[in-house]
Each structure stands twice: as C-alpha cells, then as structure tokens.
Amino acid sequence: MPANRFNGFTDYGIGIGLRVPHYRHILAEKPVVDWFEIISENFMVDGGRPLEVLDAILDQYRVVQHGVAIYFGSADRLNRDHLKKLKRLVRRTGTPWLSDHLCWGSVDGRYTHDLLPMPYTFAAARWTARKIREASDFLEVPICVENVSSYAEFHASEMTEWEFLSEVVEQADCGILLDVNNIYVSSQNHRFDPYDYLNQISHQRVGQIHIAGHSKFEKYTLDTHDHPVLDPVWKMYAHALHLCGQTATLLEWDDRIPSFEEVHNEALKANQFIKDVKATIPA
C-alpha cells in the first residue's frame, strides 16, 4: 500500500530521523535524502534555533512528524495545549501524516516520558480510539499509531497485542506505523511468533514502517535504537513489505549516533528489500 489515505496518498521512500549531531552535515552538504522524520515535541517551541533548523530543512526536504508524548492510551484526556502547539507545527511542516505511539505515559497530568504498554482490554481500546479520533479531527491530518516494544504484560489483557492494535485502528479509523523492530523485541520478551503479528494486522492501514536496532540481554531484549538493524528484523521487514507493499520506511537511530553517512547507508539497505517486492509484482 505505497500510497493510502493514512499517509496522505504519498509514496515516500526511505527516510531517516533528523537528529542534532547531523544538523551541521545536512545543512552544509545537503545530502540526497527522500524524507526526514522529526520528533514533533523537539520542535513544538516558540522560537530560536530549533525552528531555524527546521525551516532550513523544510526548504530542502520533505518532513514527516513523529510524536512521543500524545499518549493516546493514557486515561487522562488529551492535553489541549499540546495539541494546539502540535497543530501549529503541522501547519509549518505540511506533514502529510502524523504518527505517535499506541501507549500511555501520563497520569493525572504527571508525565513519565516513557512509552508504556497498554492493558489489551476492550475498554482501553475504546478509550484510546476515541482520543485518536479527537486528535485527528483537531489536527486535520491523518494519524498513524505505532506499536511499541514492551517488557511487561498485564493480567488484565483480554486479547493479543495485534488484536488490540487492530481493534484500536478500526475503531479510530486511523493508520498504523508498523515498527517491525518493536514487534521483534516484544516477541522475544513475551514469547510469541512475530509473524503471527505481521500476518494478522490490517495491512491496508499501514502508512509507514519503522526499522531500528535493539540490544539483547540475558533475560530480555531492549529497544535501544543504538545499533544497525539486525537480521531477524530485516527478514520481518521483507515479510512486511510483501504483505503491505512498498511503504514509506524510516530508520530510527537515537543513541550512540554514528556519522550521517553511516545512518543513511544503513537505511538505504531497505532498498534491496523494496526491489525484491517490486520484482514479485506482475507487470
């Protein structure tokens, strides 16, 4: 599903996350990059250097917004101040779609600044979908929700994570930002088959894909975004492309960030998988 209503009918290719250590290189060298993903909250400010950099990037590149703090799954109501600032940024960037996580992270106005897993219950799905719809109506831009990696499961859950994701996106009528690395990490931590996850979600709702690196520890796997993408994740990515079609893909590298070229080259490895998918499509 290269272009669908969940990604604003765009056909973006491979992008990378815009990160501070690369600003100077990007602004000076203007490398060819299909698109950049920005962390919305880093640019939801009133002035200064962040907006100067953003405007310079917008002059040259396509930008998609990715958020980390709407917390659709929090029992708190949506933070109106947050949404107003987000909408101002949406207008500035012209992002064709906007993503944030299917998670919670705030309680009674206190913020954990983490992406916490949901209890997979029907009530939680209803509440979350309602908030996504409200946000989408207000922001006037398609929303894709991203599956998070998790290290805990709740007794309260009534369904699998992929059933919960499907329940939420159907009720909210929104898109999916499919993070294949997160599926892999969670599958390792909770012992499920990640291909069951990939096979059973609504493929026509996938507006974007994330890939990233992770770290394995003795008793659990952590979503660290500080490594190249590992083979099991590339394999899952290839499978996801077969299911969803060529889809806008973004490499996340957020810690121990190497040079711009290294990050970009890692992201461009995805091209091979995209070619393979194209080759399977009959002329």
Binding site: R19, V20, P21, I39, E41, N42, M44, V45, D46, G47, G48, R49, P50, L51, E52, V68, A69, S74, A75, N79, H82, W104, S106, V107, D108, G109, R110, Y111, T112, H113, D114, L116, P119, T121, F122, A123, A124, W127, Y151, A152, E153, F154, H155, A156, N189, H190, R191, K219, Y220, D254, D255, R256, I257
Partner: protein, 335 residues
C-alpha cells in the same frame, strides 16, 4: 487490617485510570542505593505483591523484575536529562550531591510537561524550599545558595534557546511619542537575573571554548553518557551581579549589566514608561558625576541593536517627537 485493593481489570475507563495510577506510582518511586526498584511500595506493601497484582511474570522474569525495567528507565531518563541541562549546578554541588538533589527534586516535582525541556523549571524553587530543611545545608550552606543562582542562570539559557521572539522596535515605534508614554516590552527569550554569586564566570570556566550552550534539552536527542569534565575549579565567588541572558542569531549569550541599566530594563519589563524607568534608576544610583543622558543613550543603542526592546502591547498615543536622550533629559529636569 484493611483488605488490599483488588487488582485493576482495566475493563472500564475508571479501571484503566486505576491501573495506570498503580503502575505510575511504582515508576515514580525512587530507586534504591543499588539503582534497583525498592522492595516496599509507598503504602508499605511489598512491591513484589504490588507488581504481581497487575503484571504477569514470564519464564525469565518475575512481575517485580518486569516492572523494575520501567522503574529504572524512568529514573535513568529523567536524571540524564537534568544531568545534561544543569552542568553548572552539578559543577557546584559535585556529582554525588547533584544526584541526591536531582532524585529529591523529581520525587517532589514530577514532570508536568509533555516536554523534557521543562523538567528543571522548578529546580530553583526546589532549592529555595530545601534551604530551610534539615539535612541539606550541612557543613556547606552556601553551596545551596550558589546552586540556586546557577539553576536560575541555566534555566534562563533554556528559555533563551527556544522561547518566542517578537519584532524589535523600529524608529517609527518611538517617533512622536512623549517620554512619559514611551513604553517597551522585552523579548520573551530575554531573562534578567540579579544574582549573589558570579555564576557566569564559573559557567564559562566549566565550558569548552565552544559557543555557549548551542543546544538545550531534548528528550530524544540528548546523548546519555556525554559527561562533561567535572570541574575542579574554585566555586563561584560571592559577588552581586546582574545578568541579561539572551540570544543573538540563535546563539545564547549572557551580558553583565550595570545596576542602573538593569533597573531600567526591569522597570520597562514591568510596564513603566521610559521616563519613569530612567527616573527610578537614576534616583537609586550611588554613582556620582555621571553623564546619564550619554550613558542611557549608549545603553539604549546597545539594547536596540540586540533587538531586546519590542513595542509595548498598548499602542502609545502619538504626541510630540521623543528619543531616549530626551526621556533622560525629561527625567533630569523633573527630579
């Protein structure tokens, strides 16, 4: 003994809220000395019991251990953020005291903002609060006072980094306005600080020879592990200083101000007219034989060139032509 509450089932919005509060309380609970989750919850219950009530164990980790991953992530992320944003406070207090302070601060003032940029917005207030509490001041009571000044200085830099800017004044804004009606606002990114310690010199000594703090805190972009050299320099000396912390071409600067210049700017910020602001500053000055007209003209030219002054929200009523020097003359003529 009262029966412990039943585990939340998250089958309704209220139950979802109850489950999230339960988990959040565990995450907000400070780590133990070994950076692990505490064995007792705040209500005295065993944390193992609390965790087991809502989190499933798996074949490798107990419920407690799974919850502990999140408890540790919460504290590591937020402590890292304060560590990066307040190198000066850290330099004054030293690593150990700083970490104790940061943990206590976050315990009393959990984040209320979606942005980690605001994490330290009550640090100065917290330092004020604990200055009256036993156990903090110890043998070095002055350290907290220094840290408080530094916290204000470093917060002002965060404001200067990304706060709004307004259009600076133009000659048209001051033409035909009598001195008594000439009012200005200051740029939202500009902070005026009256401090008791020379934290600016201390901060400069702590930094590389690169430009002052070109980047402020960002949740995703911060690089944990970046560990600026711990200063072995002498502590800030006691000295009354007045600073303007601002930005120019989106780089952050600070500038020491003379007492009179500081008072004028402070008065303008409070809505006084230029005439009133200059009058108050000159009246309270201890300096003698000063050419106030010349001095204030120079100050005004400097502030205007830096773009600090912005038109007052209330449009001044047009009358006769005025200039800063005229305003000063008016003040001098009307003591």
């Amino acid at each position: 003994m009262s029966k412990p509450p039943s585990p939340p089932e998250a089958r309704s919005h209220q139950e979802l809220a109850r489950l999230q509060r339960l988990m959040a309380e565990a995450l907000f609970s400070p780590l133990n000395a070994g950076w692990g989750m505490r064995r007792k919850a705040r209500d005295g219950r065993s944390m193992e019991t609390v965790a087991a009530s809502f989190i499933k164990p798996n074949d490798r980790l107990t419920s407690f251990e799974r919850l502990e991953i999140y408890n540790r992530q919460y504290w590591f992320r937020l402590l890292d953020c304060l560590y990066d944003d307040y190198p000066g406070v850290r330099g004054i207090l030293g690593e150990r005291r700083f970490m104790k302070l940061a943990k206590a601060y976050l315990s009393r003032h959990p984040s209320r903002s979606y942005s980690l940029r605001d994490l330290g917005d009550r640090l100065e207030q917290f330092l004020r609060e604990i200055s009256q509490e036993p156990g903090w001041t110890g043998r070095h009571p002055e350290l907290l006072l220094m840290a408080r000044d530094m916290a204000r200085f470093e917060w002002a830099q965060i404001v200067a980094f990304d706060a709004a800017s307004a259009p600076a004044i133009t000659p048209d804004d001051i033409l035909n306005v009598p001195p008594s009606d000439l009012r200005f606002n200051l740029q939202p990114y500009l902070s005026l600080l009256s401090l008791d310690y020379a934290v600016d010199e201390f901060s400069t000594a702590l930094r590389d020879d690169e430009a002052l703090r070109s980047e402020a805190s960002h949740a995703i972009d911060s690089q944990p592990g970046s560990n600026p050299q711990q200063s072995r320099r002498s502590l800030p000396k006691r000295e009354k200083i007045r600073l303007a912390v601002h930005r120019c071409d989106n780089l952050i600067y600070f500038k020491r101000l003379e007492p009179e210049a500081f008072r004028i700017l402070r008065s303008l910020q409070r809505g006084l007219s230029l005439e009133e602001a200059c009058g108050k500053a000159i009246a309270s000055s201890r300096r003698k034989n000063v050419d106030w007209a010349e001095e204030i003209r120079e100050c005004f030219a400097c502030w205007a060139s830096l773009g600090w002054l912005t038109p007052a929200t209330e449009p001044p009523c047009p009358a006769r032509a005025a200039s800063p020097a005229q305003a000063v003359r008016a003040v001098q003529a009307d003591p």
